[in-house]
Amino acid sequence: TKTQNFCRNEYNLTGLCNRSSCPLANSQYATVREEKGRCYLYMKTIERAAFPRRLWERVLLSKNYEKALEEIDENLIYWPRFIRHKCKQRFTKITQYLIRIRKLTLKRQRKLVPLRRKIERRENRREEKALIAAQLDNAIEKELLERLKQDTYGDIYNFPIHAFDKALQQQEAESESESEAEREEEDDDDEGKREFVEAEDSELSDFEDMDKLETSSEEEQEEEEEVEKESSQSKSKGKRPLKGPARRKRPYIEIEYEEETEPGTKTKAA
């Protein structure tokens, strides 16, 4: 295709640099230009060629599209066909783009905010350092352990070591700890309410040496277990006068006793 140059003159009608569309080369010329949303028809005639100040005559065109076209026609009557046609084409294009501008301003417009390189770099570097200072894994683990200690998880995770440590430290009545329940067993024996049942299947099988101790009342096996309880208790009574650390191991020992007796109880029950 043949390449064409653009004309840099602001009064040019088509925008291309041709002999027929150069405002300097033609002594009778017309253009349509718009200013602040209003369209004007500019005309240049040969009579005013000597007066550069008055050279371009300007006519305001009406806002109505058809009326404006008629105005162009009556102003450029007897002018060459080419100029008239091109003026009307240019006017059409201008009105179209004005309409589009008005429509776009109503819609939401994207505001471009430029990135500042130095600031971006600084923020990235600070973020890396903050990440290292944060030590996220440790912080999360600490927080989870804290929550475990504060019993937010309730009964899901049972760690007897923890419970017995508490017993050691506090040495006071803890209603839910197993040690106290065992001490009171003498009274409860007659009622047979509190019993120690070893749960054989622990849901959390990943945990090492997790003996899940549950205090549950089973009224069916009262009598049989009472007997076993008394026997285990007598052995435990024998060991009670021992010192603290031995006492601490006492619950473990009793667990073993219960293990031995339990299969017995189960067979009896069955």
Binding site: R108, N124, I140, E141, L144, G154
Partner: protein
């Protein structure tokens, strides 16, 4: 005149190679001296035994932080009263259940789309809707009508998500964050299986000032109140030096004192840019806090969250 003994400074050597060599040698010397000093100090400590002075705590930025006057005291009544009456009160009184709408800016690219999906799996009771050129101002009343409590808009630039607008819907505050270092699930190493449908727990770390407190409550309001401990999932928002790191883990208690965590789910970091009082309104909104670079970034030890 020449000083006696003559000293040669490293920087006066014109030859680059030789200068570089001398500089390396000088550096090695410095390191040796430092090591010797450390050893000596350690010997002195051991020699003194019990009478040794306590170890000096190294200065960190967190230690040297400029004291912010808006730091929340846990026993502050005014703060407690404010929190009982602000926009999150219905959530914290368990009157509302969070329902979240996640959307993006126009024409989201692949990464953003995938990130939105993953975010939707992480946050329970959330829905992703794509925005085809809809104005935010018009979708907000629709959301309120459909009973959504929160709106998240992820802004995208050059095919990666880089901004997050979080707004609490029934006329709640709107926070605008700059999002960086977004990692999708497949980019995380040693990740676990997909996050399940259980409600995760929430950990909010280090939100100390009033502003930090309100932002923390905003994040907490995204998740339902009662976490399902069976799921063993935890979402963490950790604030460090004004950067909020989000992580999603699955934990397991191996024993009393040990817990193992496994990262699943996307991760990203946020930096607060502005906090508006009402819902999202760029022109007429009343800003509670804007990050003004000239005023607020003057000191390296001053943080706002």
């Amino acid at each position: 005149r020449v000083l006696f003994p003559p000293t040669f400074s490293v920087s006066e050597i014109k030859n680059k190679q030789r200068r570089h060599f001398m500089f390396l040698r000088w550096k090695q010397q410095q390191r040796k001296e430092k090591l010797a000093l450390k050893k000596k100090r350690r010997k002195e400590r051991e020699a003194l035994g019990d009478k040794a002075p306590p170890k000096a705590v190294p200065k960190t930025i967190e230690n040297q932080r400029v004291y912010d006057e808006t730091t929340v005291d846990p026993n502050d009544e005014e703060v407690a009263f404010d929190e009982a009456t602000d926009e999150f009160a219905p959530y914290f009184n368990r009157q509302t259940v969070p329902k979240i709408l996640i959307t993006t800016s126009d024409r989201p690219r692949g990464r953003t789309v995938r990130f939105c999906e993953q975010l939707a799996t992480v946050i329970p009771n959330s829905h992703v809707y794509y925005r085809r050129g809809l104005a935010l101002k018009r979708i907000i009343p629709q959301c309120i009508a459909r009973d959504f409590t929160d709106l998240i808009v992820i802004n995208e630039d050059r095919k990666i998500p880089n901004g997050l607008v979080l707004s609490h819907l029934p006329d709640g505050p709107t926070a605008h964050f700059r999002m960086s270092s977004v990692r999708l699930r497949k980019e995380i190493k040693r990740k676990g299986k997909e996050p399940t449908e259980h409600v995760p727990e929430v950990i909010l770390n280090n939100f100390t000032t009033r502003l930090g407190h309100s932002i923390g409550r905003m994040f907490a309001a995204l998740f339902p109140h009662d976490p399902q401990f069976i799921g063993r999932q935890v979402a963490t928002f950790h604030n460090q030096r004004d950067y909020i790191f989000f992580r999603f883990h699955r934990y397991i208690f191996k024993s009393e004192k040990k817990v193992g965590i496994q990262e699943l789910g996307p991760r990203f970091t946020l930096k607060l840019r502005s906090l508006q009082k009402g819902t999202f309104d760029s022109k007429f909104g009343e800003y509670e806090w804007i990050h003004k670079r000239r005023e607020m970034d003057t000191s390296r030890r001053k943080f706002h969250l």
